[in-house]
């Protein structure tokens, strides 16, 4: 099936074939580097609280929905939050974790969650309170290089990471920065410096590339990447606000279901799941060509889930009525 991870002819063990394991390792390594060398200003208590809250929320929501405990995505969200979210009060970090994991379970359209969990948590917290911020400039140049190498290596190994989104986003964003520099008559050292941002790489390879929140088809993903880049450039240079990437992704994520309807493709599956059987498998193999019914979360990602639809359905119906 398209999108499954490939690694060395399938000789590697199952868990290693999962790109999320590599992502967790990469994020954890980055966090360790940031805390030890770059003086991130995140306390170990905050790290522990963030990760713990993410895992706890995953467990609780999973139980409520009747699915097994799946810690990998929760760990990724938690680690990303540790890397990006800054606050003086660790309680906000825990709240962020709960928001992130909760959005994955509750904000769904046709079986896919709409927002990247970390991104959702960041945006909600930034809007809701004055007590949190994102430090865009904390990485520096040497971290950028190391990160770049890690990401590039990961891409080679795990082609399932939907690199087309990352690449289309990066290319589009870089072109816009260069175009702006040319228009202003600035030397190219300026867009080059603007691109040397660790936050940009983190965003491009770990956030926007989340296979569960990007369009199903390649054309859709490329378009999505360009859209997010345009949004980010607008926020950064039109509205003069920092962290344009975060706002842009949040604003563009609701467009993913639209893109899925216009440009249908096969739904991505994390490797290692039991393949769907029967009618559901047929539906999945045909992709999202059938118009998704908004408000009804279909069991996506393999037939392993039992068709229980409690809390999520009611919440979505509620949202639709208010929205």
């Amino acid at each position: 099936m398209r999108g499954r991870a490939e690694l060395g002819g399938g000789r590697a063990p199952g868990w290693l074939r999962d790109p999320r394991v590599w992502q967790i390792g990469c994020l954890a390594g980055l966090l360790a580097y940031g805390l030890a060398v770059l003086d991130f200003g995140v306390s170990p208590a905050q790290v522990g609280l963030t990760l713990g809250a993410a895992l706890a929320a995953q467990y609780a929501f999973g139980r409520a929905r009747g699915v097994g405990f799946e810690p990998r995505s929760a760990l990724i969200s938690g680690l990303s939050l540790c890397l990006l979210l800054r606050t003086g009060d660790p309680a906000w970090a825990a709240a962020g974790s709960v928001l992130a994991v909760g959005s994955k379970f509750l904000l769904r359209v046709s079986g896919k969650h709409v927002f990247n969990p970390t991104n959702f948590a960041l945006v909600v917290l930034l809007l809701a309170t004055d007590a949190v911020w994102v430090s865009a400039g904390q990485w520096g140049a040497s971290a950028f290089l190391a990160f770049l190498v890690a990401c590039a290596g990961g891409l080679v190994v795990h082609r399932a990471l939907r690199s087309d989104v990352s690449l289309s986003f990066l290319l589009a964003y870089a072109s816009m920065l260069v175009a702006r520099a040319v228009h202003l008559g600035d030397p190219l050292s300026i867009p080059l410096h603007q691109l040397q941002s660790g936050a940009l790489l983190l965003f491009a390879f770990f956030m926007i590339s989340d296979p569960r929140t990007t369009p199903d088809s390649r054309a859709g993903r490329v378009a999505f990447g360009v859209l997010v880049a345009a949004g980010a450039a607008f926020v950064q240079f039109g509205l003069f606000r920092p962290n344009g990437l975060v706002w842009s992704l949040a604003a563009c994520s609701p467009l993913v279901p639209v893109l899925d309807r216009v440009l249908p493709g096969a739904r991505y599956q994390w490797p290692g799941r039991v393949p769907a059987v029967g009618l559901q498998a047929e539906r999945l193999r045909k992709g999202a060509s059938r118009a998704p019914v908004l408000g009804l979360p279909r069991p996506g990602g393999g037939g392993a889930r039992r068709p229980r639809r409690p809390a999520g359905l009611f919440l979505l119906r509620l949202l639709r009525r208010e929205g």
Partner: protein, 394 residues
């Protein structure tokens, strides 16, 4: 924004050109006291704390505090040169003649400035063009010699410009054109919510809190310059350094008297009179409770390492930070007891640690530091007599 430039030369030749995001009205421009800025500098400067070791045989302790201002910034003079140039406003404020200019294109602006007696460095035209295309105006200040003579000031006072803009940035590119070597800049940010940091460059905290050999007291300025240069070198001159971040309602230790509300108003703090403008954290006996957070940033920059203007954001971080260095003076005098012997051993180890700290911080050679640290006054221990003397010699 209040600007103070260190300028050496004939005042007639002084001019400053700052890109500003909007046209500035007369009531938004003011000349302020240098004294207020000096006070702010002294208040937030890195400080030395001295401790005097007690007699190891009998405990007594006194603390003293010294504060040294950081090295003065040899800030860049900005000469900027302007047809198709519109003089949007023209004022005389204090000893300055102020113009607010906009232009259709940078060649015309450059020509206009040159014709009007401003010396523009080569290469400024490209930078001027960039600012013009971003829709910025130019705030040009020149010394009006007659006013200066009438007012009787012998130095150039700082200029304050007030404006509201979503662009929280500091334009530094004009100053790097044709500059000889790196420039230095101190940014003092007074905010309500918390610490200010740059978003397009890494903000690094200066190393702080270490024990240093006592001879540094005589050489604090030199030490600080060397330490800053070494940190700049380590970060490859790509970082902005945080030297002070503190709630102005209190300080510990205080390197200078706290700023009065009047001084803060002169610096542009406009929210002191609002409800909630008074901080609940203030200690009694202070100059009045204030809800102001002070950030002090120190940048050494040039065009190659800092191609972009500095862009800031205000965070919610109210964690305190200051440059604070500790000197521990050894006990000078007889220390004739068991504890005294232990003290001497500890002292040797401590001396070595302090020397290593200093060498690492400043890049000075360890031998040099050790040599300087051979203080003339050392512990003298007379050979003890009697039973205790015998015991100690064991």
């Amino acid at each position: 924004m209040t600007m103070a430039n260190d300028f050496r030369g004939d005042p007639q030749e002084f001019a400053v050109v700052i890109p500003v995001p909007t046209v500035v009205r007369r009531d938004q421009i003011e000349v302020t006291d240098q004294a207020v800025l000096d006070h702010l500098d002294a208040y937030s400067a890195p400080r030395l704390v001295e401790y005097f070791d007690e007699d190891p045989c009998r405990p007594v302790r006194e603390d003293y505090l010294l504060s040294m201002r950081a090295a003065p910034a040899p800030a860049g003079e900005r000469d900027a040169p302007s047809r198709g140039v519109t003089v949007e406003a023209r004022y005389t404020v204090g000893e300055y003649d102020i113009l607010v200019l906009s232009a259709k294109e940078s060649g015309g602006l450059e020509a206009w400035l040159v014709e009007n007696g401003y010396r523009i460095p080569r290469g400024a035209r490209g930078v001027l063009a960039s600012y013009l295309r971003q829709g910025m105006r130019f705030f040009v200040a020149r010394v009006n010699l007659r006013e200066k003579a009438r007012l009787g000031f012998t130095y150039l006072r700082p200029l304050r410009v007030a404006y509201e803009s979503p662009k929280f940035m500091l334009p530094v590119r004009l100053g790097t054109v044709n500059a000889q070597g790196p420039q230095e800049l101190f940014v003092f940010a007074l905010t309500r919510r918390g610490r200010v940091e740059t978003t397009n460059y890494r903000t690094v905290r200066l190393p702080t809190g270490m024990d240093l050999p006592p001879f540094v007291k005589e050489e604090f300025g030199e030490f600080y310059r060397a330490m800053f240069a070494e940190q700049v070198r380590r970060e490859d001159m790509r970082a902005v350094f945080l030297e002070y971040a503190w709630d102005m309602a209190w300080c510990d230790p205080c390197a200078a008297d706290p700023l009065s509300p009047e001084e803060l108003r002169k610096l542009g703090v406009s929210w002191l009179d609002e409800p909630g403008g008074q901080s609940p954290r203030a200690r009694p006996g202070f100059g009045g409770p204030v809800d102001v957070f002070l950030t002090r940033l120190h940048v050494r920059y040039d065009a190659a390492h800092f191609p972009e203007d500095l862009v800031f954001q205000e965070t919610a971080d109210r964690e305190t930070f200051q440059g604070r260095y500790v000197l521990r003076h050894p006990w000078i005098g007889a220390a004739v007891c068991l504890a005294g012997r232990q003290y001497r051993e500890d002292l040797d180890r401590r001396r070595e640690r302090e020397a290593q700290s200093l060498a690492t911080l400043t890049g000075w050679s360890l031998e040099e530091v050790r040599r300087k640290g051979e203080a003339p006054a050392r512990i003298t221990a007379e050979p003890a007599r009697g039973f205790w003397g015998w015991l100690l010699r064991k």
